[in-house]
Amino acid sequence: MTSQAMRRHAIQFHAVPVSLCILAVLLSLLSLDIEAGSLSPAAIFDLAAGSDTRSLLLTQGWIPRFLIALVAGAGLAVAGALFQHTLKNPLASPSTLGLAGGAKLALTLVTLYVPGALAIGQETIALLGALVVGFLVFALARRSGFSPLIVILTGMIIALYCGAVTTALAIIHHEWLKSLFIWGSGDLTQDGWYILEPLAAKVCMGAALAVALARPLEMLNLSDHQATVLGASPARMRLLCLLIGCWLTATIVAAVGIIGFVGLAGPAITRMLGFRRLRSKLLMSAVFGAVLLCAADQGVQVLSGYIGTLVPAGALTGILGGPLLIIMIRQLRSNSQPSQNTSPAPEPDQSNIRNHLRVLAGVLLVIIGAILVGRDIHGDWQLQLGNALNTVWPWRGPRILGAMAAGTMLAIAGTILQRMTANPMASPESLGVSAGAVIGMIAIVFLIDAPTAWLQISGAAIGAFITLGAIFALTRKSGYAPERILIAGIAIGALFDGFIAFLMAGGDPRATRLLAWNSGSTYGLGFDRASVLAIIAVSALPILPAFARWLNLFPLGPVTTKSLGVDLSISRGVMLMFASILTAAATLLVGPLSFAGLISPHLAKLAGLRHALPHTVGAALIGAALMVAADWLGRMLFFPWEIPAGLMAAIIAGPIMVWLLMRVGRGAS
């Protein structure tokens, strides 16, 4: 690289932080001008010294809000820098590790079921939630040696799970959780200094601790072996580092709500500037985190004045976080390949027919049960045959058929993705196509007063295919490298979450319906649409043998696959397209069903199906049964309230998945 090019590079890298600082100052001045009515220092001092409402709004509203943005931004960025350092992972942050989601779930549960416990403090409850999620993510990821991608995917999936449970609760108790949605959206409005003061003290303490420990923590940059030789205890160091990060995150989340991606962006900007030592990285991250959140929040204040509705800072940073992740994907070196720890379990013992029959009976029971068991008019359980079945069949039948088809398609897509990326955490949800479809549908719901179902579906189809195109465009250069596609998917999902947080905070009644749809509802499905879905699902099956060879080779890793004569770009592109179409079709009709595509391939493997073709077909059948069971439970458990099938599947599959992950990890270590 010539020196000129290098200089240009440096200017480019400096442009981002410099323009960010200028933006923050300009927006702050603008919002101060709006607040105080003038920018002359004398006038502002006069106002601040007064005691009327406008003075109060300045001294007890604007100023603490300005400061709390700096404190929260700095704290989140320090937490992010600590996580990134400890996990040697440029994508780690409070939001990508699922900590904020854990805190929110804990608060939701307490608000609904033990409101008395709120007296011990939101913060303590949020901290407990964040810590539980934190330990879960780290326990699961440790088994893969903290591989960057596995950590992020585990975190994201735990976050999805927490989100799914929170959503299920929100659908039933929507009115009760209004206040919680406001908190969750991360609005920084202040009414005094009583939140800021304790928060500032705690964040300073955490940051000071981190900076003081920076020297010993530097050891974590070495390999564990080197560090041990030098007399350090990397495991203890790492734990300490993560604990400080979790504590900072929980404190800030409890005080101001969920503010996504500041903890990711602060350290990222610092890295751009080329700081190497941990102490300066921590300090600079704090500075940029503070400036970033300040700019976002001041911008939101100016913006709210024009829009006339509440725009929470947390929702804005969430929405900006998506594009940021996409930019960072391009910088992520492609050698951060996930460790291939999908080591085969021991070959199954094929002699036991009785066990085989038991599984068969189980699956049979699921489908027959879903057809015949229901609730009568008084809500009592009933075996429904003859007339009783006839009455409900036009409403129940299509849902069972639709759930089977959707489960099949998602499971096929999931198996293909997992084999293709050699990553046990890959799933159609992480493709981002689901989120794209949902964004398309939201647009239709908000543009048209009372849209018909078919209009909504068209919106979703357009959204899905735009997303698909974007993901292809973004990852084409890297030959559709699997980890980049997955992260692009996460980024689009993050964008979507920010949008939903904004809607929920505004209290728009349409948001609840979107929540239900987004959690995978088979509600109102007719045989017409269910049959279309079933036809797509069935027609996907004959195509599978064409992929069998690729899918058998891909788990061996890209180098081996290539040396065996497979064109990586073409094969990946084709399979990705196939998986995306299946995902989009399932999403269009029954919403982005979470986890069916993730867990079915694992269960099929558990049933002893190893080769590509039987594995895929087995996963498809298990996926179908899983979705049928989830749909039935969703309809019947809280009858007449309904939990969307996708959400129910996520709730069933979550614990199984954690168990599976631990099992996979143990096999690898």
Binding site: G61, W183, I353, I377, D449
Partner: protein
């Protein structure tokens, strides 16, 4: 358990699953007959999926067979009371279709907002779409039309006129009482936190009622399709003359903040009137809610308690 799974033969397992899915795919063809009892001229089995319509019907003495979100109604709307025998349909935006089918209704009342979500409902029973919150006209006029429409389609002619005249006289009564109100303007809110609230304005039923009373709604800012805006404390702080009214339930932390929060406790309107709380009333309600709101508003602004900042419900 997973040990057992592993022991099954893959082929048998697959065969079993394939057979099962075949059975389940074929079953749609089997029971398809769909009988319905003969319809009488006057619908007897009415189900209502929309909250405001259910409230209007109950106020006219029309008890539906079933309605959506009964527990929510009992907490957030309260009046008119839902009789015990009314069956719950579940969420308003997703009433349980199986329960609906079992109930075999002969008329479904709902708003187009919900109706378009489940167009297949028309297979079940005739649907009457009645809109109170729509882009045409204002909620109060729509609510009157809705009451007449409900009375007409359920064969209870005359009841709507009673409800309408009753509502108008309640509003007149409130109007007379409010001439002695200390506050000349009000901010009607649902408090979400010490710093956030929904404030009701243009497009809301409350706005229409206040327009008929000798008080003003201080909130003239933009509102959404349902007539409210989610705002923060600083946006309402400037309305120092308006009495701040919070529709119950009010979150616990707001009560604490009234005393501790520097902004909330120092607001001129809080200092003057306190935070005036009002028993629950349907915030997206129908005609009955309009009358109830005017009653409660008059009570809140003129009762002894208002001066002390607390109105006992």
């Amino acid at each position: 358990m997973h040990q057992q799974h592993q022991k099954c033969s893959r082929r048998h397992f697959l065969k079993g699953l394939a057979g099962l899915s075949a059975i389940a795919t074929l079953t749609p063809v089997l029971p398809e007959s769909f009988t319905r009892s003969a319809k009488a001229d006057v619908p007897k089995r009415v189900v209502i999926a929309d909250g405001a319509l259910a409230e209007t019907a109950l106020a006219m003495g029309i008890v539906p067979l079933a309605m959506a979100d009964v527990p929510g109604y009992r907490v957030w709307v309260q009046e008119p009371k839902v009789p015990e025998q009314v069956i719950n349909l579940g969420a308003r935006f997703q009433p349980s279709l199986e329960r609906l089918a079992q109930l075999d209704p002969d008329l479904i009342l709902t708003s187009s907002f919900y109706a378009n979500q489940y167009s297949r409902l028309s297979d079940l029973a005739p649907i009457e779409k009645i809109d109170i919150y729509s882009s045409s006209k204002t909620p109060f006029l729509n609510a009157m039309a809705a009451a007449q429409k409900i009375a007409e389609v359920t064969g209870h002619r005359g009841t709507a006129e009673i409800l309408i005249s009753d509502t108008l006289s309640r509003i007149d009564q409130a109007s007379r009482e409010l001439t002695s109100s200390q506050a000349s303007s009000v901010l009607v809110t649902s408090m979400l936190s010490p710093r956030h609230m929904r404030v009701y304005g243009q497009n809301s039923l409350m706005q229409d009622v206040i327009d008929r009373l000798p008080v003003k709604n201080a909130w003239t800012g933009p509102t959404n399709h349902w007539g409210f805006a989610t705002v923060t404390i600083d946006q309402i702080a400037q309305y120092s003359n308006a009495a701040l009214i919070a529709i119950k339930p009010v979150p616990d932390n707001v009560d604490r903040a009234i005393v501790h929060s520097p902004i909330l406790s120092e607001l001129p309107s809080i200092k003057r009137f306190g935070l005036i709380t009002m028993p629950p009333v349907a915030t997206f309600g129908g005609l009955f809610a309009a009358g109830r709101f005017s009653d409660l508003l008059a009570n809140a602004l003129t009762s002894q308690g208002a001066a002390h900042g607390e109105f006992a419900s």
